[in-house]
């Protein structure tokens, strides 16, 4: 009998009406450098298992890094004990939406396993990035890093599923700093590239040294860029920036656990309450957004979620209207759905699976429109590239975003770099102000390793694709202060 079956049997014998087990090992590698030296190289392996059960209508979970027969039995029984202890506080039993038993193996398609690449190649790339930036007159510092994750997990459940998955994710990063000693000021510019679900080919294909040199030029140029005049302005948001606005203002409000109050104590609730489903006009007719865990290269992509549900693509916003939530098996019934949309995830063998954001993408415009066309069609606006500061309230109404690079657009042309820009808006007002989205040729996928939610806090890796888009009449702030 496999250890997975041992866990399921032990849980059932102890009184569980449902149980699943994830036996997983995570391999990570991180390299960090600054200027001409490599600061650290770290390898890590983390192996263990978690057993999740429903007993007396209540969830229980226990986990251990010691993967042995006896420990599996102990932990499975402990999960049932926790469920039963807490069942006395329960009001309604947990109900799971059905799923067919799955027997499958799935792996992220990669061309080159990053753990097979020599450290020499990786350190040479990082030091090359730093050297390219440092060669720009006026650049003072450059830090760079790369991070690789391989998540290998085996899921089994009392519904009869046995699923093995191997997921790869990698993250590049650098930041250039320019000091103006006379003014006592400094400016930074980080990479505009984002993490992906990919192998080392991502690091081989991207023009890192060219981007680092450009970043150096940009950081130096920021010193003399005029400070923005605050007020109501039109914005053109580049996809290297817009992905994060989508994450915060579309991705999170359409999480069903938030909408019904499960995150009320931590991440917050949502202004997209259940009564608005299918009714609420979220944005302009141009705005269509889908949740999916199926697009190659995107960070949340996998074959099956951590409920054992096959992953899918489902609409969240359709031509401006709010039409869908992200759900898991224990949530689907709350909105009358007979199936989960497959968005359950746990970030470790030691953490419990719950609803996490899939890749949420803003669909590109249907009519041909390049970024150059959009700029040419714009009289007076600010073009923002790269992600900077981000903050949004606990119901996802009031947000404020900064960026990496800001350009003034006047009479159809980019006229100059400006600085100290942030914009603040109310989510539905902002998406109603969207009056142009570029076509598929400008589509780009950004993302993050560190989408946070839950208690204890868990990190979710997620991507967001979009094309450049224009927003009319947004409140722009100047972030320069003296204290």
């Amino acid at each position: 009998m496999s250890l997975a079956d041992v866990a399921l049997d032990a849980a059932r014998s102890a009184g569980a009406t449902y149980a699943d087990v994830r036996i997983a090992d995570y391999r990570t590698q991180g390299l960090w450098s600054r200027e001409a030296r490599v600061e650290s190289i770290s390898e890590a392996q983390d192996r263990g298992f978690g057993v999740r059960v429903i007993a007396d209508g209540t969830w229980g979970f226990a986990a251990s890094g010691l993967v042995t027969h006896d420990e599996v039995v102990r932990v499975a029984r402990r999960a049932v004990t926790l469920a039963k202890v807490n069942a006395r506080l329960q009001r309604e039993p947990v109900v799971l939406a059905p799923v067919e038993a799955q027997r499958a193996v799935w792996a992220t398609p990669i061309r080159r396993d990053p753990f097979d690449v020599a450290l020499d190649d990786k350190t040479a790339l990082l030091l090359g990035i730093n050297a390219a930036a440092m060669a720009v007159p006026g650049v003072s510092f450059c830090e760079s890093g790369m991070w690789f994750v391989r998540e290998h997990k085996f899921f089994a459940s009392t519904d009869g599923s046995y699923i093995e998955q191997t997921l790869h994710r990698c993250q590049p990063w650098f930041e250039v700093t320019s000091i103006d000693a006379k003014q006592g000021s400094f400016q930074t510019r980080s990479t505009l590239a984002h993490p992906r679900s990919a192998g080392y080919e991502y690091f081989e294909d991207h023009p890192w040294t060219e981007e680092a040199a450009q970043a150096g030029e940009d950081a130096v140029a920021k010193h003399s860029a005029p400070s923005v005049e605050p007020g109501v302005r039109d914005l053109i948001l580049h996809p290297t920036h817009l992905w994060l606005t989508i994450h915060e203002s579309i991705g999170h409000p359409t999480e069903l656990d938030r909408a019904v109050g499960l995150e009320a104590n931590f991440a917050g609730t949502s202004f997209l309450t259940v009564d608005k489903l299918g009714q609420y006009e979220f944005g302009s007719e141009l705005v269509t957004a889908h949740g999916e865990k199926t697009h190659p290269g995107s960070l949340a992509t996998c074959g099956f979620d951590d409920d054992g549900v096959p992953t899918t693509e489902a609409p969240l916003i359709e031509r401006g209207r709010f039409v869908g939530y992200q759900t898991t098996r224990d949530q689907a019934a709350w909105i009358g759905a007979d199936r989960s949309t497959g968005t359950s995830y746990a970030d470790s063998w030691g953490t419990v699976a719950f609803q996490r954001m899939p890749n949420v993408n803003l669909l590109p415009g249907a009519r041909p429109l390049s970024l150059a066309d959009l700029i040419a069609d714009t009289e007076d606006a600010i073009l923002i590239k790269g992600d900077g500061s981000w903050s949004i309230d606990h119901q996802r109404y009031n947000f404020q975003f900064g960026g990496q690079l800001f350009y003034e657009v006047k009479h159809g042309k980019i006229t100059r770099m400006i600085n100290d820009v942030a914009y603040q808006a109310r989510t539905p007002d902002f998406w109603h102000a969207c009056d142009a989205i570029c076509d598929e040729s400008e589509y780009y996928v950004g993302g993050t390793f560190s989408d946070g939610k839950g208690e204890p806090g868990q990190a979710n890796a997620v991507s967001h694709g979009c094309a450049p888009a224009r927003f009319r009449g947004v409140n722009v702030l100047n972030t320069k202060r003296s204290v």
Partner: protein
Amino acid sequence: MLSEDEARRLTAQIIKLSKADEVEVSVGSARTTNLRFARNAPTTSGETDRVSITVTSRFGQRVGDATTNQRDAASLELAVRAAEEVARRAPENPEVMPMLSAQAYVAVPGAFDAATAEGGAEALADGVAVALDTARAAGLIAAGYVEVFESAVSLANSAGLFGYHRSTGSTLTETFRTPDGAGSGWGSSAAVRIADLDFVGVAAAASRKAAASQQTRPLAPGSYVAILEPAVVADLVGLFTRRLDGRAADEGRSYFARPGGGTRIGEALFGADITLRSDPHDPIVPGAPWGSEGLPQTAIDWVRDGKLTNLRYGRYWAAKQGVPPVPRPSNLLMAGGQGTTADLIARTERGVLITSVWYIRPLDPQTLLYTGLTRDGVFWIEDGKVTHAVNNFRWNDSPIAVLKNVTAMSAPVHTLSRDLGASDMAVPALQVSAFELSSVSDAV
């Protein structure tokens, strides 16, 4: 959780396996038990046992590290060989320092409570029952999270260093909302001993704030006199202290850099009543005996009587600058005044009471300007009394400005910072002459 004897045996076993010039082993083991609830019922619960063993190998100026969570002999051997392989292939780093020899680490017995370590899921369920009963009785909807942990950390190296420290801790947060979503209140508690976790007080605070916040009157954005409850102060002061990095200041990329070169150490940044310090022996918020790079934690002032007195320095940069190394602190203690938040409210003619803040992100590292939001309880104060609830706000302000604007302080209390999630601080509530509320948030 590893005992000191087990930690000694394990680290010695790993050091014996090493073929490197020097080797260091860091071992952590912990059991965490938690219970989460929402909609007046439990949602998830969990108990996780974790071990983490990090081996750092050094050949000359080349260093590498490898981490495993497995304690069997084969896994330990693999981790040691992996760290050595990384170190051999790492480029030489001129900033690598020889490993520390034996240090005199202070013992912090007050950081551990045996009863807390032995407590379990039943104690958490009993505490949550208090929250659920309180919420139901008041016609409110409760959500929250309670966690208890026991932890042991150990540090050893081939130069003779050894340290062992065990601790326990517990945290509780609760949010109560009115069924119509018009009111919301939050409360929190943190303690070394679960017996000190204030289940009754937190439920009462969340209940009171939820009920009081449901009929808000609009208040326009602007600069207001404000009373900041300790949870707010912990977030703001926590951000300030995280930036106290000596090297960044020396390099000119920090608020603490002096224009033209050097740091602002010695400069009066705030009024004479502002003092921030760390002390691992603090009886309420005990710290760990060592910090980054294995440096011993000692009592240290960061700001004394308004003047910046210290910055953190790693061992290499400290040696280069000719200053003592200073590790990242394991707690933060802000001096205060007398009384409670209620006493500050009674002394306020007109102003805003902010009970918690959320989603804080940097806007300008040069001035430590941050943005964030108020959450779960904002009230108007008139003639020393809270008169009504007001809408939530986005704020754009700097902890530097906040500390410059302090006009009165309560006595400090052990506080859980909501946004940073840190429970290692004791801070007062503050009355400040100006806090910048920049736009209205519709969120409740």
